[in-house]
Symmetry: C2
Subunit: 195 residues, 2 copies
Amino acid sequence: MNYPNGKRSTVSKPDKTPKKPDFSNRGMTLEEDINVTNEYYLASNTAVIHKKPTPVQIVRVDYPKRSAAVIKEGYFKQASTTDYNGIYRGNYIDFEAKETRNKTSFPLSNIHQHQIDHMKAVHEHGGICFMIIRFTPHQETFFLSAVKLFYWWDEQYKGGRKSIPYSYIQRNGKLIPFTYQARVDYVKVLDKLFF
Amino acid sequence: MNYPNGKRSTVSKPDKTPKKPDFSNRGMTLEEDINVTNEYYLASNTAVIHKKPTPVQIVRVDYPKRSAAVIKEGYFKQASTTDYNGIYRGNYIDFEAKETRNKTSFPLSNIHQHQIDHMKAVHEHGGICFMIIRFTPHQETFFLSAVKLFYWWDEQYKGGRKSIPYSYIQRNGKLIPFTYQARVDYVKVLDKLFF
């Protein structure tokens, strides 16, 4: 574990890729950054938003005597919803988060039809629904409203392109600010757009 | 599979405990009933509420050539939230569901501190939070608001009892109606209490 003063915990194991203590988000995945952010939101009583567990089809479980049950065979299932949901300022919040190494566009193959169906249903029922998209080469993380995602999703089946241009997201999304405690401080964007 | 006319599907496998075709909920677990209900709510555009996947700590995964990844070692983790959440009439909905074979009370050992903490946070942020409790011996399924659950939860640490009396739940909860499509039709209770 690294402490904010840059000193490493003496109990930490040797680490081949030490994290830089310069508050940058290099080396952390988008998922890790969002989890840290959500923990901060929870601890500071800002919002209650959690990542859903990865869906697993459990096929075989062993029950050793005097030990915890062990899953011996399981498979990853495709998620039928988005990964994150919860409540902020009394509103239902629902989003999916993806990062891409692509510099010029976000490939729609990162999203599944089930997730779009879910997001459309949430939107219809009055929830606040969006995507968080990180372009790792640019070190930029964007908020894109679900309605704008739906446009590109539907267009691809009418002969449109299979990705959302980076330039479109720059102009029509919102850059999500980075702070040490809220590494993907997306509620700041919600505050501007909805409250 | 049983059809509403009471005839069994000819393709169904032999079943040692045939389901009665009398629309009772005998034989189905509370979780199965709620899943069927949520599917009906989704299909009828009533609400968007899902069960969260069971949290699993994945330790070892094999990647066989030309086949799906196989989880070879995993463990069940304790949930840090409730099992169900989503949106109904624009409101954030969050609940936990438990069944008990106990006739006279609902043991609080069915719930964990983490879940109570989560429910309290949701309640503070303006979400609609509750428990669904089924007494299998009585074949009754009740709605109990989270605030009433908190009272009993907190009392147990002040020398109070470690269970909620059935008689209390009868008087202070709401019996959830059973219909064929919505086997645990909890939004009917929400309609009466909140809308």
